[in-house]
Amino acid sequence: MRTEGALGLEAHGLTVRLGGRAVVDRVDLAFAPGAVTAVLGPNGAGKSTLLSCLAGLRRPQAGEARLGGRSLAVVPGKERAHLLGYLPQSPEIAWSVDVRTFAGLGRTVRVGAFGPSDVDRAAVARALAVTQLTDLADRDVTTLSGGERARAHIARVLAGEPRWMIADEPLTGLDPSHQLDAADLMRGFAQAGGGVVVTLHDLAFAARFADRVVVLAEGRVLADGTPAEALAPDILARAYAIDARWTSGAAGPLLEVVARR
């Protein structure tokens, strides 16, 4: 890896126009490793578009995404793949391969010319263990249930041992217990020095597990701060057109949606 130490991920005036409209509109954001940032916002707010720019997979029309101070447009694909693990919103799986092989795809740029080494195999085994897929390792990945498959995708990203995890709705389809597990995984990843940018739609869940929340609406950053600041009732009213209030529950804040505006 060329860049050691803190490796920041930033958006500078990032603008993406699709279908004649700015879907992401002059977004400035800086993410530091060691924290989990949840990007929230209504459907069509531009979250996925923003994340694919941060993952270096989409060229913005204006502005740029930077990794460690360098524009992602000039970071070679292989180096980018070492540093950034990306989990798209609706990932495709074209062929029937076993879960272990599938998770191993996350190490595509790490595996040497003569096939996987013990280091590679160990990393895949760890990723399967923490996502509780060890027992399913020999199953055909296309036969997994939706939630199991979602975990296989997380395992694939973890197996690549990236410095950043950019995950677009990774919790969709997970049962409550596995949602907590996945959230713990992301927190653990951040505590170990990695950076996490994640989108999700469960506001209360985001409030409990994210260090920082960014609210996006119509391509603009509406709020950016601690969960309490960024998910204040007036912001939720503007972003989602709902009347909601926070109450305190035993395990953390609870969001009570009172009415649609």
Partner: protein, 325 residues
């Protein structure tokens, strides 16, 4: 990750190939008993060296080229119905070759060069169309269009051909065959097939990554531009050179990866070497069969493959339809 393709399958295929090669040398209109094999000077020896060895080598090389190209094209398009024939790569190659017959360019190198150019244009059109958006449907539709264009071109060449000899030569050649090929044909085609095959064997890891779709593959660090260049060069060289020597032989590239998927699993990189070997075995077996069918004149290999492959293709389509129904 790429592990070695399941070695027992590869070993089994090599044994099968050895047996088929032996049969191919002794079988035909004239059966040559095994004990004569080591008797140079015998007229039967000439049959082996002048006819059967080149024919066997060509069947191996062309079968391997078609099987490998099919496996790569299926991996790239993520579609089990892709193959050089379906996607129009072979017929573009044959259009190139027919032009050389039409213009009476008879040097073997010229036919090969035109066929390779035609195939390469076909692959480039396909990749160009799917490069930006596309997807499997665009790919297959583009293949249909390429097939139509190439066939129209061939028909035009036939109709306009001033020389009835050239026309009948085109027709015979189009049916696809390996009979009466010489070592000249072997030396013309094999280097290109080997070079193309080498390029195709380099894309295994990229194809694995494409299991996650194009965005997924790019996020894993795969440069799709390099992948496409290798595939265009590899399929163009391997299929073009094959078509130049044997005419169009369909369905090998379609059937073989499908059969191998049942043996070694769906991972694209593990399919490449087994598909090359199984393609060689299938074509050689079909060619032996064709030699042994008693008929006034030899049944054309391309026709025989179509007779076998057509129903297989239909069966695949029905199976896929059921899965989506």
């Amino acid at each position: 990750m790429r592990r070695a393709a399941p070695l027992n399958v590869i070993f089994g295929l090599l044994v099968l190939l050895a047996v088929l090669c032996a049969i191919s040398l002794i079988a035909g209109r004239v059966w040559i008993p095994l004990d004569r094999l080591g008797a140079p000077g015998d007229p039967q020896w000439a049959i082996i060296t002048e006819l059967r060895i080149p024919r066997t080598l060509l069947a191996l090389a062309i079968g391997a080229a078609l099987g490998l190209s099919g496996a790569v094209l299926q991996g790239y398009t993520r579609n089990p119905l892709a193959d050089p024939g379906v996607l129009g790569v072979s017929s573009m190659g044959s259009l190139g070759a027919v032009l050389t017959l039409y213009f009476n360019l008879t040097a073997p190198g010229e036919t090969a060069a035109f066929a390779i150019a035609g195939s390469a244009v076909g692959v480039l059109v396909l990749l160009g169309l799917t490069g930006s958006a596309g997807g499997a449907t665009t790919f297959l539709l583009a293949g249909v269009v390429l097939n139509v264009i190439a066939e129209a071109g061939v028909s035009l060449a036939l109709m306009l051909s001033p020389d009835p000899w050239a026309a009948s030569e085109i027709v015979t050649w189009l049916l696809g065959s390996l009979s009466d090929r010489s070592f000249t044909d072997v030396w013309t085609a094999t280097p290109f097939i080997v070079a193309g095959g080498a390029a195709l064997l380099m894309v295994g890891r990229d194809l694995d990554a494409l299991t996650l779709g194009e965005t997924g593959a790019r996020s894993l660090g795969v440069s799709l531009g390099r992948t496409q260049a290798l595939i265009a060069a590899g399929v163009g060289l391997a299929c073009g050179a094959s078509v130049a020597v044997s005419g169009v032989i369909g369905f090998v590239g379609l059937i073989v990866p499908h059969l191998m998927r049942g043996l070694v699993g769906g991972r694209p990189s593990s399919l490449l070497v087994p598909s090359a070997l199984a393609g060689a075995a299938l074509l050689l077996a079909a060619d032996i069969l064709v030699r042994l069918i008693p008929a006034a004149s030899e049944v054309r290999l391309g026709v025989a493959m179509a007779v076998l492959g057509g129903p297989f293709f239909l069966w695949r389509l029905i199976a896929i339809r059921r899965r989506f129904a």
